[in-house]
Symmetry: D3
Subunit: 230 residues, 6 copies
């Protein structure tokens, strides 16, 4: 959501990182830029889930000061290689040099920026699940990030939270964690509340994103209204 | 907060009205305008707490489509009369005609707009509390609106929620409700959660605003983090 | 044009739908989002002509609350299939789940959203005209939309409205209407005034978009100036 | 309306000046600034109707590059003197020096800027009409500007265009023109179409503003819809 | 200037404070808010020169996170008292409580915020110079801030930098420094380059603001062009 | 940088053209549009370095009024052909017709717009350098534009300005100038100050862009601070 003072508050709550969602987050370029400023003002670290596995949004998010990118709709190790190519300067990749805000973080040296820029691949399609071990082996990939709703739809769910695929979903989540552990990279997952996040962390996930600002707001506004009306 | 899609969500939660805070809400003119559009899109009614008891923000909020204004820092009945003068067209007041969005609500007839435009006076200073019965008697005033933090500071609180003045605060809240009831106008109050709102409604307040979007977000983000960390 | 109160006025004029032009409309992402809010506030239905046949703008327009997309520069049935794939959730397509505003319209069930999301293909190139019958047969396509200026240039016009290709243009418009009718899908066309729109509706077109806000303004401003100067 | 490309089109239509409406125009500070840039890009001259007779909006409109200000809700010659004081540098007035964009027009010399900055007083209240001759005599006032709707309401109209006060309104318009002519200053009036503007120019008014962008758009959109529906 | 990434760069250059100019800076409310976020992200401290000595912009700048305000066009000690009243909570002043971003800096306790919020009075009119000793004696005033261009115009300059009043200007600058020193408050001055700032610091001024972003840019762009053309 | 009044100042400094950087410039779509308005208001000519060699940003920059585009990361003559195809209307290319602001410059005739729209190819990769003669021979290409930092990294530099590859870099710059001269097209280069620009112009480059607004500001702010601190 494009609301820098709200983003700053969330950053100050103590989260290790805050993700700005360039894909589903109802946020344009100016919102990303001001959101990354707000995260820095709040003392946290900003990641951007980019709108697509495309060099333009990847480069622009990094130039604007993101510490890393979460790349959606990855299917194969080749897809990851394309994302890495977009996120890293030559000779590793093909990112164009113009680190307007990222140089504030990493300095102007391309090799240093390459080493510190994080690339995370979303696992949220049937193909990605089938290829997850190969995906994990892609050079320069820092971690996986599970998109639970899309993954559940890929597993046949009729709607988010469909109990019919709950077992298949848990198996998939476990397989993804195992693949990441074997490859020695991080695994993260989007969750909808703190309890769920806690469960995934115990399960071997090294980070878990908690809900979204818009869902937060909607839930608590409805709850207060229910209580007020007695 | 200037975030129209969040405002729309709150409007859709079923609240009878949504207040955009032009005084403390970190929201500029464009934010007010788009926020009022979002409230209309969400099917609720938009009020604006204006930044000051000044004809310019009062007229601009109404032109932009607010159903009414909440006017801060009222001390006397004369202050209310100035607010009414700014909110109503001649011969009642002195609002200039240019109802760009408000005519969509009320039509172009000034007398009709005058009849339907709501003016609420904030009771949040020591002077206002002393004058509350006279304030209630001002013609064209539709209701009172208690600003609990400023009122408590005016009663000597050292910080928001200071227990030392809790009794004096409850007395004041009761006096304000009684004055409004006697004058036959509405009384509302800002509250910080649904439970508190429910209590005030039982106490005779006819409407209660629940918290603010920024506080909502901060509270729930901190809570989820606490739970996630176990 | 990025001007939500103007968009709201047009929406309130009674049009069945209002198209926000993400391709030529001088409007960025924030403008699309606020424009869709304004259309909802005005009680009409918002469509977006996306900037390209690319999954990113298609998904983002739908997430932001568009009821459907108009996809430019379609050449073949394969192009349509790509657009459908971007606009529909699995198993029909490959849209990622994150229906921030579209769930307000359709609810969270992917199959229901798929059924109600409209996809229209622009017919505005020579190739598209040659392939129009095959295009119409693509599954999940809801209708065609003629781009008259690009189509006329494709037919050899030297400038918009070139009389030399008027006959060829009329033949093309008729062929497109016939292809849509045969396939049982809708056909629409962009027109420059109400008279033209009326003629196309009589010709079998089921909807016609009338001009653009910027052209409207320019025309009437020039006309008033001419009259004022006597 | 905050829509720079539309403002530029109107500026290019050949109007001698374009007024940005800071009072009723649904336009914030950024909109005024970009609107003045658009008017300059379009080759016309920008005036701003300020939101109030207050030094802050007057100074900010001029700093942002307006050639002059139209000051609303003037009642007396003293009101005009206050507006002049806000618009001119010492020793004439009390404008603070910081001509960020206005120096591009007038250069940095205060006396030169004072000479070229235009101040127009709106005549739209009963008091202003009663005092119009005295108002015209205020030093440094460049002209009057009739606000027809507010003036008609001041004369007792029940709604804009009320025929009951048509004669009184025409008398007032004639008196205002005569007062300006006697004082040797300009007189302008807001009109709603070119025909009306032409009539006022023949009546001795030296300039006439034609309608507003939002009304333009609404009128022509409704007309096209009516014709399209046959 | 409303350009958060540029503001962040200046904040990171090592300045002790960065002033956002709400009066002449071509910057609206959203620009102030994002600019204050950018200054915090850059690790400096943000002050706002407010647009006028009016409680609304003073309160809004502080709510948005400014560490203090610079108040323009002060003439008398009473003017300063009004500014203090707007900047401090009861019982010292009359600021309304709603410290949306300022509480991030000072915490929620009004007395603590009052103690840490900075109020600076601009000395830039003939009256202010005449009253400077009385102004310095106003309780709760933290310092003076010389506006050199307006002050020189007040002293009779025909244009910025007029050598005819150079001596009178230097006398005034010295008198202001002496008055502040006697009263034990700070004195600051706006300067146009580092050399000038250094001279004022040696003269007893405790802080000096260096130029403005827009002037910076214009000067260096012109210089590079001159050199490039040989 | 998205700051129209700063862009206008640079445009007024006398530069023949001003480039808005859609790739690394921290500027979204609205910033490009208002920046092009500001350049026109400042009396210069606007070019846009687009974010990628993709028809969408190329078409949108031109529709928004750019006189031409600078296309990054070109490797081959085929890449140039794609850029030309995106920038020119049929039959030369495949740009869709909707010249919202560009028609203000070129008129509505596609052939005329094609003739006057400038396409420049960036030479900044190892492949582009190897293919530079073939690239120059692509029909409809107006010139080359050297990206010195990316080109130096492509030549093995460890950081911008690495002296180890200085000779290789000078050879490359000379080869590019020669290739352009042979093909009869223009050659330009990005430089970091006026002196460097002057040297390149003497070397046969026909245009040279001088630095960027953000670097300008940062350099001069640091310099003033250094001097002020003595
Ligand atoms: Mg590059
Ligand atoms: Mg009026
Ligand atoms: Mg997904
Ligand atoms: Mg000043
Ligand atoms: Mg209050
Ligand atoms: Mg087209």
């Amino acid at each position: 959501m494009d609301a820098p003072p709200a983003t700053e508050r969330i950053a100050r709550a103590g989260y290790d990182y805050v993700v700005l969602d360039g894909q589903h987050g109802l946020i344009g370029y100016e919102g990303l830029l001001n959101g990354l400023l707000a995260i820095d003002a709040g003392g946290s670290t900003g990641l951007v889930r980019v709108e697509a596995n495309d060099p333009t949004p990847i480069g622009r998010a990094l130039d604007a000061g993101a510490a890393g990118v979460i790349v959606p709709l990855i299917d194969t190790a080749d897809d990851v290689a394309l994302a890495v190519r977009a996120a890293k300067y030559p000779p590793v990749g093909r990112r164009s040099f113009g680190p307007m805000r990222s140089a504030l973080r990493f300095g102007p040296e391309p090799a240093k920026a390459n080493a510190e820029t994080v690339v995370l691949a979303m696992i949220e399609t049937a193909q990605a699940l089938a290829n997850v071990e190969a995906i994990c082996a892609t050079p320069q990939l820092d971690g996986l990030y599970v998109g639970p709703v899309d993954l559940s739809l890929a597993l046949g769910a009729r709607y988010p939270g469909d109990p019919e695929i709950a077992d298949a979903f848990e198996d998939a989540v476990a397989r993804i964690a195992a693949a990441a552990a074997t490859a020695g990279i991080a695994a993260g997952i989007h969750t909808f509340d703190g309890e769920n996040a806690n469960r995934r962390l115990k399960q071997g996930y090294s980070f878990a994103t908690v809900s979204s600002d818009l869902s937060h707001l909607e839930a608590i506004a409805a709850e207060h209204l229910r209580v007020a009306r007695g």
